[in-house]
Symmetry: C2
Subunit: 235 residues, 2 copies
Amino acid sequence: MINAILASTSTLHGEDYLQYLIPEIKELYKNISEVIFIPFARPGGLTHDEYTAKAAEAFEKAGLQLKGIHEFSTPEEALRNTGGIFTGGGNTFLLVSELYRNKLMQPLRESILHGAAYLGTSAGTNIAGLSMQTTNDMPIIYPPSFKTLGIIPFNINPHYLDPDSNSTHKGETRETRIKEFHNLNSPPVVGLREGSWLQIADNKISLKGKLSARIFEKEKVPYETDTGSDLSHLN
Amino acid sequence: MINAILASTSTLHGEDYLQYLIPEIKELYKNISEVIFIPFARPGGLTHDEYTAKAAEAFEKAGLQLKGIHEFSTPEEALRNTGGIFTGGGNTFLLVSELYRNKLMQPLRESILHGAAYLGTSAGTNIAGLSMQTTNDMPIIYPPSFKTLGIIPFNINPHYLDPDSNSTHKGETRETRIKEFHNLNSPPVVGLREGSWLQIADNKISLKGKLSARIFEKEKVPYETDTGSDLSHLN
């Protein structure tokens, strides 16, 4: 049974890292002594140690210990034995490349399917979908595959942004990009706005946070779904 | 000797498709009877025929005939024999995938290096760089490689957007994304604003249009370069 929080962003404007998620983190990892942190998306040149320290500081506020996956001599075994995992944000191409290079994509998937509580933010949320093909990130590295964990039966677009009707910019809007995805691919896409998250628990996928989400299904007009909605049917 | 126009965008706000580039198109393809159009980036579900018709309509205003690469029974030979090529915008992952799938990446490169006049807009400009790794597009299809034409010794970020200082959105800015690219890669990146283009002629690469461009070099502070600048030194 999957137990997960998939958040659009780690940080809300004007808040500390993970601040708005602390109550969720406490609940998600209750009765778990140590959570494994996956820092592979490593944004902005932070080392794995620095990124882990930053996440550990936030987790301390929830009374939790965090240890980086890179600190284990046998990371695959560590994933198999842990009760909790957190994958931080950054660049999804880098995260996916590193998971494959370290042969950890499949062990991570199995650990979550076997019940390890999982938190993802941004890129860490993106990889919970069927593929990373609805990421907003730049392809700074060539991963061996775009296939990701598939612990939910659809894709996520984190940091979802509504079209700006005042913009004179001619680059594609987020909605246009997702429409292009659906020209070639069939999985639904959940446009998850900053401050929203999906909670997977009791065999249900629910939208949480204050905002609605925008759902994109192939050959359908995109639509809004209210917070609290059950998205389990989406596939 | 390379003869090319690499434009950030096909269309300016409030203008017709290619309108602002018509004088450049006339000059670039003078004395050329027929230009080959590469519609592979095919945005928004347009067919190759529909996309070619749209581009042909704009080219007519410059007194030029356009024919889609998909209309040739031997497209590789067509590229080898043509005096002019135009690659339109859309999704860069799709464009690069289709060029490789049709075994046209190398013939296209050779044709341009042998003097075929080349126009790229958006994705068609992106592929002129060393790699497609500074595209803004969504990875809607998995290409066999991120390597592109390399007719210029650096990368381009088309539709370059300055950070919005009023934004409360926590997704990465364009500048942050390019910095992430430089954490793993060394080629310089030219952030080409809409309305700007690079002209390659007489063994020189010059910035054209009304705006300055933003130049990103690994481990340097990004800087502006004025229109009219010679960028031939950048590599």
